[in-house]
C-alpha cells in the first residue's frame, strides 16, 4: 500500500483513532500492519510472514551466542540472496529490463537487515529480546517503516512497542508535528518526485544525444530519488509519530554537504549507520594485518562497505561499481583531509555534488554498458547549446528550475531548525490539524498521469 494513496490515509486515520480511544492497541497495530502489507499480494505476504516466523524460531531455538548470529545471517542474507541476487549470480537480467526489480518481495532488503540487526544486538547485549511473538511480529511489521525503512534498531523501537503491549504507550500531543511531516513527505513525493519522474524516464529511455540533456537527466534524477525516498521517510516518521512511536531520522538535507563523507552521513542515515556498525567496524577492527598496515585495512574496509552498500541497492554490476566509487571517493577525501588543507566549503560542495550526480548515472542505468554510453555523452560537449524546438522549455527556464530545486533543498534545511518546532507548538490546535489534514488529503488526490511507486520499495 502506497503512502500517497487514499487507502493508506484511511488506514492511518482509523488506526490513529483506535490508538487514541480503543482497547487492544497492540493487536490493532498488528492487524493494521497486516492489512498494509497485504496490498503487496499473497506471495510477498507469504515471504514476509515466513521471514518473521523463521527469525522468531531462531530466537527461541538457537542459543544467544555466535551460533544465533550465524543462523540469523544464513536466514536473512539467504533470503535476500535468493530473491535479489539469484539472477545476478546466474547472469540473468531483470525481467522488466528496468533499474528496479519488480519481482522482488516488497521491502525484503529492509526487513531482512532489521532482523539481522535485532539478533546481533540481542546477542551482544545491547538490547533485550522481544518477550513474545506478537511483540517480535509488531517490531518487524510496524507498518510505517515496514517496506522502506527507516531501518530501525531494536533499542530504538522495541521498548516503545513493549510500552504499547503494556498499555503504557506515549500519546504525542504535538499532532501538528506528525501531520507536518506527512505533508512535507507528500509534497516531496507527489508534487516533486512524481513530476520529475517522467522527465527523467524520457531522458534515460534512450541514451541522450547531447551533453545538456545528459546532465539534465542526471541532476533531475538526483532530486527525484531524494524527494522520493526522503518523502517516503518523512511520511513514515510522521505516521509513526501519530501512532505514538518515534522513528529515527533518515535524511538531513544531504545535498548541502561539502564532502562525500558528510553526504553519506546525511543520506539514508539509518542504512549508513547500519553499515558502519555491522559491516565497516567489524572489518576495520579485525586483526588481519600488522599495525603499520592498519590504515590500509581501514581504507579497504571503507571501499568494501560501500561496495556492499551498492550491492544492497540492486543486483547489478552497475550498482556494485556505484558503491565502489563512493568508497574510493571516501578514501580519497580521507587522505585529502589528512595531508592537504581543506578546500573552501563552496568548492567542496560543488565537487561533492558533481561527483554524486555523475556516479548516480550508474545507479539509474539498467546496466554498465548503458551507463558508460550515457557518461560518454555527459562528459562530452556533444549537442552544443540546446535549441528550443517542439514546445520545449527554453534552457534558461530549465536552469532556473534546477537552481530552484537546490533552493528548495536549502529551504528544507531551514525548516529543520528548532525555531520551527516552537512555531508548531504555538500553532497546535484544531485549525492547524484541519488545515494539514486537508492539504494531505488533497495532495493524495492530485491526479497522477504516470504511476510511480516509491523507488525504494523494490530495493
Amino acid at each position: 500500500m502506497a503512502f500517497n494513496s487514499l487507502a493508506y490515509a484511511l488506514l492511518l486515520t482509523l488506526t490513529v483513532a483506535w490508538m487514541a480511544i480503543g482497547p487492544l492497541r497492540a493487536l490493532m497495530l498488528i492487524v493494521a500492519s497486516l492489512i498494509f502489507y497485504a496490498a503487496a499480494g499473497p506471495f510477498d505476504m507469504l515471504v514476509f510472514v515466513g521471514a518473521v516466523v523463521l527469525n522468531w524460531l531462531i530466537q527461541v531455538a538457537v542459543p544467544a551466542d555466535r551460533r544465533r548470529i550465524l543462523a540469523a545471517v544464513i536466514v536473512n542474507i539467504g533470503l535476500i540472496g535468493y530473491f535479489k541476487y539469484r539472477n545476478m549470480l546466474l547472469g540473468e537480467t531483470s525481467p522488466a529490463g528496468s533499474f528496479i526489480d519488480v519481482t522482488l518481495p516488497l521491502g525484503i532488503s529492509f526487513y531482512s537487515f532489521q532482523a539481522l540487526a535485532y539478533h546481533i544486538d540481542v546477542v551482544r547485549g545491547r538490547n533485550g529480546p522481544a518477550r513474545s511473538f506478537p511483540e517480535f511480529f509488531l517490531f518487524k511489521a510496524f507498518f510505517p517503516q515496514l517496506i522502506a525503512g527507516p531501518i530501525v534498531r531494536p533499542n530504538q523501537t522495541l521498548p516503545q512497542i513493549q510500552r504499547i503491549f503494556d498499555d503504557k504507550s506515549r500519546r504525542h500531543r504535538l499532532l501538528v508535528f506528525g501531520l507536518s511531516l506527512i505533508v512535507l513527505g507528500l509534497v516531496k513525493k507527489v508534487v516533486l518526485a512524481d513530476s520529475l519522474a517522467p522527465v527523467v524516464d524520457d531522458i534515460f529511455y534512450v541514451p541522450p544525444d547531447s551533453a545538456y540533456l545528459a546532465w539534465l537527466g542526471a541532476v533531475l534524477f538526483l532530486f527525484q530519488i531524494y524527494f522520493d525516498f526522503s518523502g517516503y521517510s518523512d511520511i513514515a516518521i510522521g505516521s509513526a509519530y501519530l501512532l505514538g512511536i518515534r522513528l529515527p531520522r533518515n535524511f538531513a538535507t544531504p545535498f548541502l554537504a561539502s564532502s562525500i563523507q558528510e553526504l553519506w552521513q546525511r543520506w539514508h542515515i539509518t542504512l549508513t549507520l547500519f553499515l558502519r556498525d555491522y559491516v565497516f567496524l567489524p572489518l576495520a577492527d579485525m586483526r588481519l594485518v600488522a599495525r603499520r598496515y592498519r590504515a590500509m585495512q581501514h581504507f579497504c574496509a571503507i571501499v568494501l562497505t560501500m561496495t556492499l552498500c551498492g550491492l544492497w541497492h540492486g543486483a547489478g554490476w552497475n550498482f556494485v561499481l556505484w558503491g565502489t566509487l563512493q568508497g574510493i571517493a571516501m578514501v580519497f577525501a580521507a587522505l585529502w583531509s589528512r595531508y592537504l588543507p581543506s578546500p573552501p566549503a563552496p568548492l567542496g560542495w560543488a565537487a561533492t555534488i558533481t561527483f554524486f550526480v555523475v556516479t548516480l548515472v550508474f545507479f539509474r542505468s539498467p546496466n554498465l554498458g548503458y551507463a558508460f554510453n550515457y557518461l560518454d555523452t555527459m562528459l562530452s560537449f556533444r549537442g552544443g547549446w540546446p535549441t528550443v524546438a517542439d514546445d520545449a522549455a527554453p534552457p534558461w527556464e530549465v536552469v532556473a528550475g534546477v537552481v530552484g530545486l537546490f533552493a528548495l533543498h536549502w529551504i528544507e534545511f531551514r525548516l529543520q531548525q528548532p525555531g520551527v518546532l516552537r512555531v508548531m507548538r504555538r500553532a497546535e490546535g484544531p485549525v492547524s490539524r484541519g488545515f494539514l489534514s486537508g492539504v494531505a488529503l488533497l495532495l493524495i488526490l492530485i491526479p497522477v498521469t504516470n504511476v510511480n511507486p516509491f523507488i525504494y520499495f523494490r530495493f
Partner: protein, 423 residues
C-alpha cells in the same frame, strides 16, 4: 449562539473544518499558480474540462476555454472565441481565401501539442509560405463517435463559410457501435418500424437534466474555474480501486512473466496475421454490409454527411486512418485492396472523396514500419496520439492530398516550389 456556549467538541470540529476549508483554498491557489508560471511544464496541474453539457450535442466545448493538457504530453490548450482548438478566426471569410475545415476526433484536435504544432497549423503555414491564400481551421472535437463530427460541422463549421471539409476518422470508429450509442451524444437509434432515427438518450443523464438550472450552472462554473473542485470531480468518477490507490490486477500481472515480442524472423508473419485479423471485420462491414444494423448506421451517417455538405455547397473529403497496411507479400494485401474498393464505392456514390490516410502517411515517412514512431511521447513512443514528428508527417500528407485534389486559388500549383510542400 456564541462559540463559548458551544460544547468544546463541536467547537473543535468547527475549527477543524475551517482549517480544512483553508486547505482547499491554499491548494487551489497553488494549482493556479503552477498553471500561470513556467512550472506548468513539470509540476502537477489538473487537466481542464473544456466544455459543458449541451442538450443538442451532448457535450460542447466552451468558447475561450483554456488549461494545461496533461495526458500523454503537456501542452497549453486554448480554445478560440468560437470554441475551436484554433487561432482566432473571423466568421466572414476574407476575400480570395480558400477555407478548409478539418473535422475529426482527438487525433485532429491534438491537445497533446501546442496549437502551432498541430498538423493543420503546420500545413497552413507551409502553404501560405508557398503563396497559397488558404486557411485550415481545426473543427475537431475529441470523442470516438463519427457522428459528433456531423453535428460539429453543422453548428461550428458552416458559419465559417467553408470551401472544403476534410473529415478524419479511425476505421475502427465505424465498428465500435458508437454510431448507435446515444448515451453521450446524439446517435442513430433503432425505431420500432425498422428505421433509424436520431436519438437523444443522453438527455436523460443527470448532468443534462440539470444543465440549465442553478445547480448545474454552478457545477459547471466550479469545475471550469476551480482546479481543486475539478480534481475532486474527476477523481470521484474513477472506480473505487483506483481512487483508493490499491494495486490493480494489471500491475500484479506485470510482475509475472512479461510478454515478449516475436523474433525478427517471424515479425513479418506476425504483422501479416495481425493485419488480416484487423481487416476482416472492416471487410464484413464495408463490402458485405454486415452486421446489418451497424451498416445501416454507417450508411445513414454517410448519407447525412453527404446531404449536409451538399446542401451547404461544401466539398467533403473523408480520410479514414488505421486501415492496416500489411507487409509486402502478405495475402492480406489483396484483402485490403478489396476493402478500399468497397469503401471507395460507398463514399463515391455519395459524392465524397475517400482518402486512404494510412497509406498517405506511410508514403510520407517511408513505409508502414515507420508509422509507430509518429505516435506517443517519450517512453510511450509507438502508441497513442500524434507526437511532433507525427504532426509534421500528417501536415506533409495533407499538403500532398490538397495539391493533388484541390484548386488552391491565389497561387498556381506550378509556381509553388515543390520542396516546400513535400518536406
Amino acid at each position: 449562539m456564541s462559540s463559548s456556549r458551544l460544547s468544546p467538541r463541536v467547537s473543535s470540529l468547527g475549527r477543524f473544518l475551517f482549517g480544512a476549508m483553508l486547505a482547499l483554498l491554499v491548494v487551489d491557489l497553488g494549482l493556479r499558480l503552477i498553471e500561470v508560471t513556467p512550472l506548468w511544464r513539470i509540476l502537477p496541474v489538473v487537466q481542464p474540462i473544456l466544455g459543458q453539457p449541451d442538450k443538442d450535442f451532448g457535450f460542447e466545448s466552451t468558447p475561450g476555454g483554456r488549461g494545461i493538457w496533461t495526458t500523454e504530453h503537456r501542452a497549453r490548450l486554448q480554445l478560440n472565441s468560437l470554441g475551436l482548438r484554433d487561432v482566432e478566426r473571423d466568421l466572414a471569410k476574407p476575400a480570395g481565401t480558400f477555407r478548409i475545415g478539418l473535422l475529426g476526433d482527438s487525433m485532429v484536435e491534438a491537445a497533446q501539442v501546442s496549437q502551432q504544432a498541430t498538423f493543420g497549423a503546420i500545413a497552413e503555414r507551409r502553404l501560405r509560405a508557398d503563396g497559397y491564400n488558404i486557411e485550415l481551421i481545426n473543427l475537431a472535437i475529441a470523442g470516438p463517435n463519427p457522428i459528433r463530427q456531423l453535428w460539429r460541422l453543422e453548428r461550428r463549421g458552416y458559419p465559417l463559410n467553408l470551401d472544403l471539409v476534410i473529415a478524419n476518422s479511425a476505421a475502427s470508429s465505424f465498428l465500435s457501435g458508437k454510431l448507435l450509442d446515444d448515451s453521450e451524444n446524439p446517435a442513430y437509434v433503432h425505431t420500432g418500424n425498422g428505421q433509424l432515427a436520431v436519438g437523444y438518450g443522453f438527455r436523460e443523464r443527470f448532468s443534462q437534466r440539470h444543465a440549465d438550472d442553478l445547480m448545474g450552472r454552478l457545477f459547471v462554473a466550479l469545475y471550469q474555474n476551480s482546479p481543486v473542485f475539478r480534481m475532486l470531480y474527476l477523481r470521484s468518477t474513477e472506480p473505487w480501486s483506483v481512487l483508493l490507490g490499491l494495486p490493480s490486477a494489471q500491475s500484479v500481472s506485470q510482475r509475472s512473466v512479461m510478454g515478449l515480442p516475436p523474433p525478427a524472423s517471424e515479425a513479418a508473419r506476425f504483422a501479416c496475421d495481425q493485419a488480416a485479423a484487423a481487416l476482416e471485420p472492416m471487410i464484413h462491414l464495408w463490402r458485405d454490409h454486415r452486421p446489418e444494423l451497424l451498416w445501416a448506421a454507417t450508411a445513414r451517417f454517410l448519407d447525412d454527411m453527404a446531404q449536409s455538405t451538399q446542401t451547404h455547397g461544401v466539398r467533403l473529403f473523408y480520410a479514414i486512418r488505421d486501415i492496416p497496411l500489411p507487409p509486402p507479400d502478405c495475402p492480406a494485401t489483396s484483402a485490403r485492396a478489396s476493402l478500399l474498393l468497397a469503401m471507395d464505392r460507398e463514399f463515391a456514390s455519395r459524392g465524397i472523396l475517400l482518402i486512404d490516410w494510412s497509406a498517405a502517411v506511410a508514403n510520407v515517412v517511408g513505409g508502414p514500419a515507420e508509422v509507430p514512431r509518429l505516435h506517443g511521447f517519450g517512453v510511450h513512443k509507438g502508441a497513442g496520439h500524434l507526437n511532433y514528428d507525427g504532426h509534421r508527417a500528417w501536415a506533409t500528407a495533407l499538403i500532398g492530398v490538397l495539391r493533388r485534389a484541390v484548386p488552391l486559388g491565389a497561387a498556381s500549383e506550378d509556381s509553388a516550389p515543390a520542396t516546400h510542400a513535400d518536406r
